[in-house]
């Protein structure tokens, strides 16, 4: 069967990566920011998988790395959301612009 060449995957993952970064920097809402971080992490997972599959099909390091990283990012998200909820408890919204008490 005809394989999609590696570059295509990489393009996708890169787009995701930079989209994530862009989102992280521009979003106004903490949740949105969190989502963009997730994008970044996921894009790297794709990278690992792709590299493993195309360049070093011999073993499965990349794949395992992907699995672990997915798990970890899930944990990260959970904690982040918990904290965001806590923030919501304190200041009744999750707008980034309201998180400026600590500066200089």
């Amino acid at each position: 069967m005809e394989l999609i060449p590696m570059e295509y995957y990489l393009v996708v993952s890169s787009i995701m990566f930079f989209a994530g970064i862009y989102g992280f920097i521009t979003r106004k809402n903490l949740i949105a920011v969190l989502i963009s971080v997730e994008l970044v992490l996921t894009s790297t997972d794709i990278n690992f998988a792709v590299f493993n599959r195309f360049l070093f099909p011999g073993h499965l390091e990349g794949m395992f790395f992907t699995l672990f990283s997915i798990g970890i990012s899930a944990a990260e998200t959970a904690v982040a959301i918990a904290i965001i909820i806590n923030i919501y408890r304190n200041i009744k919204n999750v707008e980034v612009r309201n998180l400026k008490k600590l500066k200089d």
Binding site: I21, F24, I25, T26, R27, V33, V96, R97, L99, K100, K101, L102, K103, D104
Partner: protein, 642 residues
């Protein structure tokens, strides 16, 4: 002759004992202790002189003895400061002069300073001075001389400032010290130069006339002048400072703020002639290697003598008159040295005629010390009674204080050069020497001699004749403790002229037979008599209007002279306006504002620096991420395209 050491030690003991536990002693006791010690010193000095001059030297040439010489501090293998005692005609003669005058002053002060506060301090300082002055004259090397030179300066500073609560006294002492110190700086530089080339401080070597000693300096010039000439000239500047040569003389008149006996001792008889002594000491070097400097000295001295004599004619403060006469007389001595040649020993073991000036100047130094001390003490006695230095407060004192009157008259005659008083002989020799050197200089000096006679008798008549001033307290003769030294010195002044001085002191050390040059002698005596006559005419009655007329006639010159030709003002200007205003204060300002300013500026910039980076800490969550990202990219670039 090791015992000569005690000539130094005894006064030093006096200084230390009186200085440390003086306050425990009663004033009088301190005085007696000091005087006793000084008497011992004087006796030792006489013994030394007798022993030295009685021993005949090898084929008639007086030897140079060095009984003691310790190495005190070693600089390099050649250069080391030794402390020692050098006995040769002039040093022995100086020892005699110093100890005598000092003893007289000690005795005199017992009366003069009676009841003064700080009697002990006074005698302690006198001891210190005598010690350092003796140390100066017996110096075996130029650096030892410099050491005692400084000590002398300090003791003079202390004594001038004896009445330290009097602002004028303080100012005067400061002035005296700083001016002489300024001169000493040149002296030191001169020493450095000389020693750099000759590799020695030792007088013996320097005066030996060794050509090769100065070989390394040969041909070396600095700003046109030969290095050696520079060195000797600088050394002379030092001498000029102490001996109050123009234009470094300004401290001497002010120094009269000190107690009068001190003026007699330091600023008339001994310290001020240190310069003359230094030149005499280095005479061979001057004569053989830098004759041009020697002649320069003569001209400077002649000018100073003239200047001082003119100024002396118009001063009204008797001590200042005497001060300026001192300056002028020292001028005479230095002229004599300057014009002198080096005598040569002739077949008959006597010295040839060229050495006349040298001998004459030493002779005059000797006689002048005596009669000038006498004059000052007399003035002191008068001031003691009248409580004032101003001529106007005096007049007709001859009745109240006969002894003072007579002795003072003797001294005046001596300084005026009237035979048979000592001044006549010595001054006559000087004039002869100058005529031998350059007739016109001789004429000038004769004229100055005439001026001398004039102002001295102006002084004399104003004090003892003229119409008496009113006094609310009875005037009386000074106590015997003060008059006895006067009498003694008067006697010395009378007889000193007949000492065959040349037999003892001469440029080579061989005996020199003094024979009067009748032309010179007669002219000088006549001129002196004439000027005395003028003085008599003008001031004897005290009612004559002529002086004012004369003053009016000389208008500007008179006022100028009265203000000592504004030399002090010039100094004031230089020191305060230039040194302080234009150097010190700007420097201080520079230090406070520029250098500190730079430092504070650096500190300030550092503190402000943090504001330059505040944008990093907006508190905005994402701006942090952005910063992180940018940093990351920057580093990427560095890593990739390093």
């Amino acid at each position: 002759m090791e015992y000569t050491l005690f000539i130094l030690i005894l006064p030093l003991i006096g200084f230390l004992s009186l200085g440390l536990l003086g306050t425990r002693l009663k004033g009088k006791t301190a005085g007696y202790v000091g005087t006793a010690l000084l008497a011992a010193t004087a006796i030792l000095a006489y013994i030394t002189a007798w022993q030295y001059f009685s021993t005949p030297g090898v084929d008639g040439i007086r030897p140079t003895l060095i009984p003691l010489n310790w190495e005190w501090m070693r600089f390099t293998e050649h250069l080391h400061i030794d402390l020692g005692i050098l006995l040769d005609p002039i040093s022995v003669m100086m020892l005699v002069v110093i100890s005598t005058v000092s003893l007289m002053v000690h005795i005199y002060s017992l009366g003069y300073m009676e009841g003064e506060k700080g009697f002990q301090r006074y005698y302690a300082f006198l001891g210190l001075f005598t010690f350092s002055m003796c140390g100066l004259v017996v110096a075996t090397n130029i650096f030892q001389m410099y050491i005692f030179w400084e000590l002398v300066g300090v003791s003079s500073y202390l004594l001038i400032g004896f009445y330290y609560t009097k602002p004028e006294a303080v100012a005067a002492s400061k002035k005296a010290f700083i001016v002489t110190r300024f001169a000493d700086m040149f002296f030191l530089i001169g020493i450095l130069l000389l020693s750099y080339f000759t590799k020695t401080f030792d007088f013996g070597l320097l005066c030996s006339g060794e050509e090769n000693l100065f070989a390394s300096a040969a041909g070396k010039t600095f700003m046109g002048g030969a290095v050696l000439s520079w060195a000797m000239a600088l050394i002379f500047i030092g001498a000029a400072g102490k001996s109050a040569m123009f234009p470094l003389h300004i401290w001497l008149p002010d120094a009269m703020e000190g107690p009068t006996p001190v003026s007699a001792l330091i600023h008339a008889a001994t310290m001020v002639v240190a310069g003359v002594y230094l030149v005499a000491r280095l005479f061979p070097v001057y004569y053989f290697f830098t004759p041009e400097v020697l002649h320069g000295i003569a001209y400077v001295a002649a000018f100073t003598a003239l200047y001082a004599a003119i100024v002396a004619c118009v001063q009204t403060d008797i001590k200042r008159v005497l001060a300026f006469s001192t300056i002028s007389q020292i001028g005479f001595m230095l002229v004599a040295l300057g014009v002198s040649g080096m005598g040569t020993v002739e077949a008959n073991g006597l010295e040839s005629h060229e050495g006349l000036g040298y001998m004459a100047s030493m002779f005059h130094l000797f006689t002048h010390a005596m009669f000038k001390a006498l004059l000052f003490m007399g003035a002191g006695a008068i001031i003691h009674t009248v409580h004032s230095n101003e001529m106007s407060r005096m007049g007709g004192l001859r009745k109240q204080m006969p002894i003072t009157h007579i002795t003072f008259l003797v001294a005046c005659l001596a300084i005026a050069g009237i035979p048979p008083f000592s001044g006549f002989f010595s001054k006559d020799e000087i004039l002869t020497a100058t005529f031998m050197f350059k007739p016109w200089l001789g004429v000038t000096m004769t004229f100055i001699a005439a001026l001398t006679a004039f102002y001295m008798f102006r002084l004399y008549y104003n004090i003892f004749w003229g119409k008496p001033a009113q006094h609310d307290h009875p005037l009386h003769e000074a106590p015997s403790s003060m008059t006895s030294p006067l009498v003694f010195l008067a006697l010395v002044t009378v007889v000193a002229g007949f000492i065959p001085f040349g037999k003892f002191v001469s440029s080579t050390g061989a005996a020199y037979i003094i024979h009067l040059d009748w032309k010179v002698a007669l002219t000088s005596v006549i001129i002196a008599l004439v000027s005395i006559f003028i003085a008599w005419k003008l001031y004897c009655k005290g009612s004559s209007k002529v002086p004012d007329k004369v003053a009016g006639f000389f208008g500007p010159l008179y006022t100028a002279a009265k203000h000592r030709f504004y030399i002090d003002e010039v100094y004031q200007f230089i020191t305060h306006k230039i040194i302080f205003r234009c150097i010190s204060q700007p420097l201080a300002w520079f230090d406070r504002h520029v250098i500190d300013g730079i430092l504070n500026g650096i500190a300030w910039i550092t503190c402000r620096g943090s504001l330059a980076f505040r944008w990093m800490q907006t508190g905005q969550l994402q701006s942090y991420a952005l910063l992180l990202l940018c940093g990351c990219l920057l580093l990427l670039c560095i890593g990739l395209f390093r």
